[in-house]
């Protein structure tokens, strides 16, 4: 239990640390949103000055950070200059879309990689395994950008799938099942791009971890006891390989989140990615900080879930923390 509390504290430290770092980054930015405004002759200088005072742009950095932190605690995340509205609602809606994509892709990717990796590891070195290795190598060498763009080109040429976006123009007039279908159709390509870019590494690592375990003497002994194959693999081997697999899971969340950034921008999926890009270019400070922080939060949460899974799966960790 103490182990989990320790990991939770660690996660909190990471999120806070990143928030400070991001705030610091903003001092690097030459120019901010208001400089653009100042150059616009239609806006009176007094208005600009008033807005600046309102957003406390001229206060020193630690003060700004403290007041931002204060507002976060109260559920606010600052104000977006470009959208002229509080940051939180914008972020949360986009975050929901990103999560939809990322979680679906994670489940699908692991749903394929785990069985395939195990199947491959059982037949290590033989033809089926070699085929899988070749296929993953072929996928691995295609850059993520090429995959995403490639799918877009396919969508355009075949017309089977919508070309980007999350919903069709007539979305609101569809029935419930129609809406589901529309959403699913829009999701196919982005999810496929994400899954295919993450799959090769996942399969390889699963295969490696399981192969190493299958080689272990204790498994040979279990086989000698006559334990059937399926139980052997799923109860014994997987348990033993849990450690590297679970840390792989944590790592895969990071790559999937990064990947989703690119896929969202390329396929115009209204998630955190495009939002982040525009707000960075517009120097819309609080949106950027909120967006970066949110993505970090997802990553850290994902890793924390991995830590929990590890705690549950690996008795050594439980023992170490209770003994301490």
């Amino acid at each position: 239990m103490r182990y989990l509390l320790g990991r939770a504290a660690h996660a909190l430290f990471l999120v806070v640390g990143v928030s400070i770092l991001t705030f610091l980054f903003t001092t690097l930015a030459p120019g901010n949103y208001f400089d653009e405004m100042r150059m616009n002759p239609q806006i009176a200088p007094e208005t600009v000055a008033a807005l600046r005072a309102q957003y406390q742009i001229d206060r020193p950095l630690p003060v700004r950070y403290a007041s931002w932190l204060n507002s976060v605690v109260h559920g606010q995340m600052g104000y977006s200059f470009a959208y002229n509205s509080p940051v939180a609602p914008i972020l949360l809606m986009r975050a929901r879309n990103t999560l939809l994509l990322a979680i679906t892709a994670t489940l699908l990717a692991w749903g394929i990689a785990l069985p395939l990796g195990i199947w491959s590891a059982e037949r290590l070195g033989r033809l089926p395994d070699r085929l899988v290795s070749w296929a993953t190598a072929a996928l691995l060498v295609i850059p993520d950008l090429a995959l995403a763009l490639g799918f877009l080109v396919i969508a355009v040429r075949t017309g089977w799938f919508p070309v980007g976006g999350m919903s069709s123009l007539d979305f609101d007039s569809l029935t419930l099942s129609g809406k589901f279908r529309d959403l699913a159709l829009h999701m196919v390509l982005p999810v496929a791009a994400l899954v295919l870019s993450a799959l090769p590494l996942l399969i390889r690592h699963v295969r490696a971890a399981v192969a190493e375990v299958l080689d272990a003497p204790f498994l040979l002994a279990a086989r000698g006891h006559g334990i059937p194959r399926r139980v052997l693999v799923y109860r014994y081997a997987l348990r033993a390989a849990a450690n590297p697999l679970i840390s792989l899971f944590g790592f895969s969340i990071g790559t999937l989140l990064s990947g989703s950034l690119l896929v969202e921008v390329v396929m115009s999926w209204p998630g955190l990615g495009p939002l982040l890009l525009e707000s960075i270019l517009a120097r819309d400070l609080y949106v950027v900080i909120g967006g970066v922080l949110l993505s970090t939060l997802f990553l850290v949460t994902g890793n924390f879930i991995a830590d929990i899974l590890l705690y549950w799966a690996d008795p050594r960790i439980r023992r170490e923390s209770t003994a301490a």
Partner: protein, 351 residues
């Protein structure tokens, strides 16, 4: 030794690929910046050996392109106009290896232009842009990887060797960097720096940003190696002879990190080339008119281009042979350096 032969094979393959890019001037038929506004978005020209009449030509040739009737941007082959390919053609001036001026290109044609990969919105030859663009992207990747590895080496060695609070502080910093999805960090870093700068400045800016983003993982790996090397008895023995810290690091401990650094170099370089491509694709990288694999693709963000001009996608695949080469190199390096482990991989390593 089988693993050594595999390593040499991959080094040769990569060497050849890089040589082609380095000598882009020779292999590219035209200047990458040269525009031809009368011929935007030409499709790739196909090479033939047999002409429409069934005659066999020894010299490959292409047909000229003419506009299809009642379209303004669809072309078809004009069998009336044959353009034979000439080799070692004299063409635009370029600088071989940055020093010698030369005019000789691998191939070209008299009169009309032969654009094997089509042209872009300004009529620039895509093949030439591809080859020149490779220089920027590959160099950015290699330099960026070098940067990351250098920072990672310094930090990891300091953390592992000195231990204590320095180690804890540095590793916490590394975790902070790893806590952010790397593309988010890359964007944030790049975009918070000045956006419209000269291509040269942009290039170095990108290299610096990419290098700074990725130091954490190599640092951890180096730290691991240094921690175990520190406990080796030959290090203790050297201390027994009066060796100071600098000597121990330089002569005993850091050489142990060489295998980690080499493998990481092979793994990181393609990832960093991809990072440059992504940045340039989104307009945060190398600006026009300097070509890079990324900004060659940026007009694919327009729907019209996607629909009508499919060949603009081809530069996306330019990276593939390099990825294959680097993947093979990393794999054979790991085999050669640590052959006794069956399948020792940690997340973050390719192969």
């Amino acid at each position: 030794m089988r693993s050594r032969r595999a390593l040499v094979k991959w080094l040769v393959i990569l060497g050849v690929l890089h040589a082609i890019i380095v000598c882009a001037g020779f292999f590219a038929p035209y200047d990458p910046i040269e525009q031809d506004r009368k011929n935007p978005y030409l499709p790739p020209m196909q090479l033939h050996l047999l002409d429409a009449g069934g005659h066999f030509h020894l010299r490959p040739f292409a047909y000229g392109l003419k506009l299809r009737e009642e379209t303004f941007d669809q072309y078809e082959q004009d069998t009336g106009q044959t353009i034979p390919l000439k080799f070692f053609q004299s063409g635009a001036v370029y600088r071989l290896l940055g020093f010698f001026h030369s005019r000789i290109h691998l191939f070209g044609a008299d009169g009309a232009r032969v654009c094997l990969l089509g042209t872009d919105a300004y009529g620039r030859d895509q093949l030439s842009r591809l080859l020149y663009g490779g220089r920027i992207s590959l160099l950015a990747g290699i330099l960026g990887a070098g940067c990351s590895l250098f920072i990672g080496l310094c930090v990891g060695a300091a953390a592992g060797y000195f231990g204590g609070w320095r180690d804890a502080a540095l590793m916490r910093a590394a975790e902070l960097f790893l806590a952010l999805p790397w593309l988010y960090l890359l964007f944030a870093l790049r975009a918070f720096l000045p956006l419209s700068v000269s291509p040269l400045k942009a290039f170095f800016l990108i290299v610096a940003v990419i290098g700074v983003v990725g130091w954490a993982r190599p640092a951890r790996l180096v730290r691991g190696v240094v921690l175990s090397a520190k406990e080796r008895d030959f290090v203790r023995a050297a201390r027994g002879f009066g060796a100071p810290d600098g000597y121990l690091l330089r002569r005993h401990i850091l050489p142990e990190t060489s295998s980690v650094l080499l493998t990481q170099a092979a793994i990181l370089t393609p990832q960093y080339v991809l990072a440059e491509m992504t940045l340039s694709f989104l307009g945060l990288g190398v600006p026009e008119p300097v070509p890079s694999w990324g900004n060659l693709l940026s007009n694919l963000q327009q729907y019209s281009v996607l629909v009508s001009y499919w060949w603009m996608y081809l530069p996306a695949l330019a990276m593939v042979p390099f990825f294959v080469g680097y993947l093979g190199l990393a794999s054979s390096l790991q085999e050669w350096l640590e052959p006794y482990k069956i399948e020792r991989r940690s997340p973050g390593s390719l192969a």
